[in-house]
Amino acid sequence: MATRAKKSPARSAQTSAVKAPKPIQFTKEQELEAYRQMLLIRRFEEKAGQLYGMGFIGGFCHLYIGQEAVVTGMQMALKEGDQVITGYRDHGHMLACGMSARGVMAELTGRRGGLSKGKGGSMHMFSKEKHFYGGHGIVGAQVSLGTGLAFANRYRDNGNVSLAYFGDGAANQGQVYESFNMASLWKLPVIYIIENNRYAMGTAVSRASAETDFSKRGVSFNIPGIQVDGMDVRAVNAAAEEAAAFARSGKGPIILEMQTYRYRGHSMSDPAKYRSKDEVQKMRSEHDPIEQVKNRLIGNNWSSEDDLKKIDKDVRDIVADAADFAQSDPEPDPSELYTDILL
C-alpha cells in the first residue's frame, strides 16, 4: 500500500477548505513515541490472545493487531479533553488513551481490578478520566453516541473535538448517516474515523459496500473526507492534525478513511478462510506499521537495535505485569451483581 493521503475527488466542489495533508516527517521523539505505543498495543493484544487461548479471557475478544498506527497517529494529534469512542475492537484505543494496561487486561479476565470492575468485558470499557466513552458492542451505535459527544462539546463551547471510530462494516449502518446529517447540519466538532480493514467480519468490502471509497461517504452531507494510509503512522498523524484543526475551527465534521488491515481473525474463533495467507503475509512483511517506524529509527541512526530492544523489554514488562495482575486479581465480589444499575 503506497503512502497516500488524497482528498476525495467527489466532494472537492463543496469543501475546498480541506487540503490533502502533505506527507510529514516525524522527529526522533515522535518516532520513538509511536514505536513504543504501537508496540505496547501489539504485545498487549498478543498476550490477550494467549490468555484467551488459556481460558482466562472468555466470550468475544477482537484483537487490533495490524491496525496499531491508526489510534496511535490519531491520539498524537489530540489535546486534553478531546473524547474518543469506538466499537468492539477497542483495546488499542484504550491503551492509546492512556488507560492502564492492568485495568484493561483485568477487565478482559473479568476481575475486580478491571476498568469496569469486571462487569463490562472486552467490548465495554470506559474511562471518564481519559475521556474514553467505550467500547460498544452494537455495530454503528458509537457513531451516534460520538456525535452526541461532539454535540456536548458545542453546547459547552469547550473547544474539544470527539473522535468516533468505526469499521468498514459499520459504515453501512443507517444511524451512521443520520449522524452525519446532524453533525454537518449543526457543524459539530467530530472526526469520523473509518477503520477500513477490508473485512466486515468475513465479508470483503467489495461484497458489502456499493461505494468502497469510504472517504466519499459524507458527500451527501457536505462532509469532506480524506483517504489515508492507515499503516503509516505519519500519514495518520498528518491527517489527524488536519482533521482536528478543521473540526475545532467550527467547520463541522470530517471523515478520515484509514486504509488498514487486521492480521488476526475478526474474533478469536474466526479461522479467516475468506482471505489468502499470502494476502495477510504480504501486509505483514511489506506494510507492518511497527516495522516501518523501526526501519526509519535505525535508518536515520536515531536508535540502535539495542535501544529498541530496551523499549521492547519495557513494553514486555508492562504487558507481563498486566497479565500477572489480570490472572491473580480476584473476581468481583458477588455483591457487585446488583450495583451500578441505577444511581
Binding site: 472468555g58 452494537i138 460520538g146 451500578d340
Partner: protein, 463 residues
Amino acid sequence: MPVDILMPALSPTMEEGKLSKWLKKEGDKVTSGDVLAEIETDKATMEVEAVDEGTIGKIVVPEGTDNVKVNSVIAVLLGDGESADAASAPKAAPEAPPQAAEAPKAEAAAEQAPASVPAAPKSEVAADPDIPAGTEMVSTTVREALRDAMAEEMRRDPNVFIMGEEVAEYQGAYKITQGLLDEFGPRRVVDTPITEHGFAGVGVGAAMTGLRPIVEFMTFNFAMQAIDQIINSAAKTLYMSGGQMGAPMVFRGPSGAAARVAAQHSQCYAAWYSHIPGLKVVMPYTAADAKGLLKAAIRDPNPVIFLENEILYGHSFDVPKLDDFVLPIGKARIHKKGNDVTLVSFGIGMNYTVKAAEELAKLGIDAEIIDLRTIRPMDMPTVIESVKKTGRCVTIEEGYPQSSVGTEIATRVMQQAFDYLDAPVLTVAGKDVPMPYAANLEKLALPSVKEIIDAVKAVTYTA
C-alpha cells in the same frame, strides 16, 4: 526459561480439539505472529500463532492427535542458549496450568450459584411531599403541566436541553414545548431531523458527558427505531462502565392509542420498557403527577422513560401552585380509598378505572384505586397493603395482555399476598390484536368500563 506452548481455546465454548498439523518442526526459530500449527475445532480449522520468540525445542503432541485438551502442553519453546534436553524430560507430560486447575472450581461455583446470589437491594421511596394548607390549586391541562415542568427545570439547570422533531419552531407536534424556544433559544431547544435512531444516540452521547437531555419522541411508536440506543446504550452504560458514567436523561412522548390512528401508531410501551434493568419508567395520569414526576425525571441521574398519552394532553386537573413541586419516582398514589376491591392502573388506564369505580359505587361496591404512576421501579408495597385489606385485585391498562404490567402485578400479588386473596387477580387489558382502524373495532380492541365492572363483579362474586 523454556516456555510451554499450550493447546489454545479458540472459541468461547471449546474444550478440546485436534492438532491436525505442525507448520514448524523442532529446531525451527519462531517470532511473534508466526503460525505454528493448525488446530481443528468442532467449528473450523484455526491457526495457532507464536506469542514469544525462540526455537521450537520439542514438539510434545504430534500432529494428527485427536481430543487434545485445551491448555495441555503441545510444544516447548527455548530461549537463547537453552537446550531441548533440559526442557523435554520434565515437560513431556502435559502439565495443567493454573487455570486448568481452576476451571473445575469455577464450574462447581457456578452450580452452587443459586445459593450465593445476593439479594436484590430494596430501596425505600419517600412519600409525596406535603402540600401546605391553603396552597392555591390551579386547573391545568396535562399539556401545560409538562411544559411548565420542562421550563422550570431548564431555568434551574443550564445543562438541561430538549431535542426532538418539531420541538422548537413548530412549538411541538402536540404543543408540549410551546414557548420554550422563545425563552431558551435554539441552543437548548433543538429541532432534529426525522431520525429517531440517530438523535436518540446523540442524546445519549451528550448525556454520557453529564448534560441532561430531554429527548422528545413525537410518539413512542417512532422510538422503536431508537430502542437499541435506549436499551443498549442508555440503560446499560452505568453497569458496563462499573459506575463510571451513565445517561442522566429523559426520553418522553406520547405512548399508547390516540384515536383512529391504527396499528402502527397505537401501542403502549409501559410493559416493554419496564422489562429493562437500568431504566425507570413513569406513566402519569393527572396533570399534577405529570408535572411533579417530569421534574423528578429530569433531575434523576438515570435514564427515565416518560410515557405520556395524546388523549390525556387536553385533560385538566388541579395542580398545586408551588415554586418547586417535585414528586417521588417509584411511588404509587392512592387515587381513591375503598374497601371491597383494589383496582390498579396507570396513565390513560385510569380514565376507564375512575369511571368504573363510580359505576361500582352505585352497585354498592367500594373500590380502592391505585394509580401506579411509575411502572419501574414498581411500588408493590402500596399494592400489597391494599390487597391485604380488600382481598381482591383487578388491573387495568391499554397495552397488550401477554407479559403486561397487569400480569406482572398479578404474579407479584400471588407471590406476596396469596393468603390474603379471596379471588384470582384479573387483568383487563387491550385485546391481543394490532389496533384496528374502524371505529367499532378500535373500541372493541381497547379496554372498557364494562370489562372492568365485569371483572370486579367476578372477583367479588357479585356477578
